[in-house]
Subunit: 193 residues, 2 copies
Amino acid sequence: MTTEIRLSGSGGQGLLFIGRILAEAAGVFEGKNAVQSTSYGGQVRGGSSRSDVLISPAEEEIDFPEVMDADLLLAMNQEAADEYGGKVKQSGVVILDTTFVKQPPKTRGRIIAYPFTLKTKERLGSALPTNVVVLAVISQIGALVGKEALVRAIKKRSPKGKDEINLQALNLGFELVKTGVLQRDGDDERELH
Amino acid sequence: MTTEIRLSGSGGQGLLFIGRILAEAAGVFEGKNAVQSTSYGGQVRGGSSRSDVLISPAEEEIDFPEVMDADLLLAMNQEAADEYGGKVKQSGVVILDTTFVKQPPKTRGRIIAYPFTLKTKERLGSALPTNVVVLAVISQIGALVGKEALVRAIKKRSPKGKDEINLQALNLGFELVKTGVLQRDGDDERELH
């Protein structure tokens, strides 16, 4: 079975970077099949950004390299949430960054809402590595790839001097899942349900 | 009509980089639609690398984001030439780097063969920017994107300190097409027909 992941938000939020990291971690370092595709131009509105990743087991080919109904949707801004919220499986999960998404979208999937950008800035002193925090969260929640493969892909692909902060961000993402704060953050949950 | 471009060769030849440059030049800087997709893992053999780019006019959506039969195939090693040579339209063009491709593949397309890596090293003192030389050649031969859009995308995406050599490589690629050396290089042509 192919797992369909859509990462959406604004240009500059680093979604293409984490899409490639995720695909490489799964495809190269865990021996699965993975396809990453990015759309440019009129099909993507304004300054928005979209990166699709599909992952299948080693013995299974990926037939159609674009997300139809997502198993996992990340929406990092309101426009992305509104545009793609409806294209999620009933069993799917929608991850919202409530720093930017103020209205939960109409969706069949389960919503996980958390102010990722805000919290990353608080904890790491910079909002820049929010993308990697979210990458860790997605990977865990979707059981997509293990930490070791992510670490290897991040070390390989991070710009010089950025691997340390990216690894800290990865740890923060794993911590958020482990401590259950994503599920029990009452304030954010109430805001959205 | 969607133009299907497949860039294939070895990992490390920079094909993902030029795939993204091409898609961004077409989609962002020329207002067309473009999708770039990359496969990782078992679907791509050994150390090989494949980057597909699809480009359509602004008013036309791209339905299927993977190359079926290429309008333009770039093969930068023998394995890629053998693997993908058969998946080219009759009206298509196959561009081979004869630095590495010694046997022309079976294909319906017209073959353009030239020792791109060798000549780039001779002319620019390094083989590294061969990918950008080839990007210029492909863009011209397929009438995919204009030089201005390529320059903008290269300036935006080149790693620090690499934009100058990449722009030189772009100029070299345009020069190769303009002077007709790709068509009339008797030695390479004879070797392959």
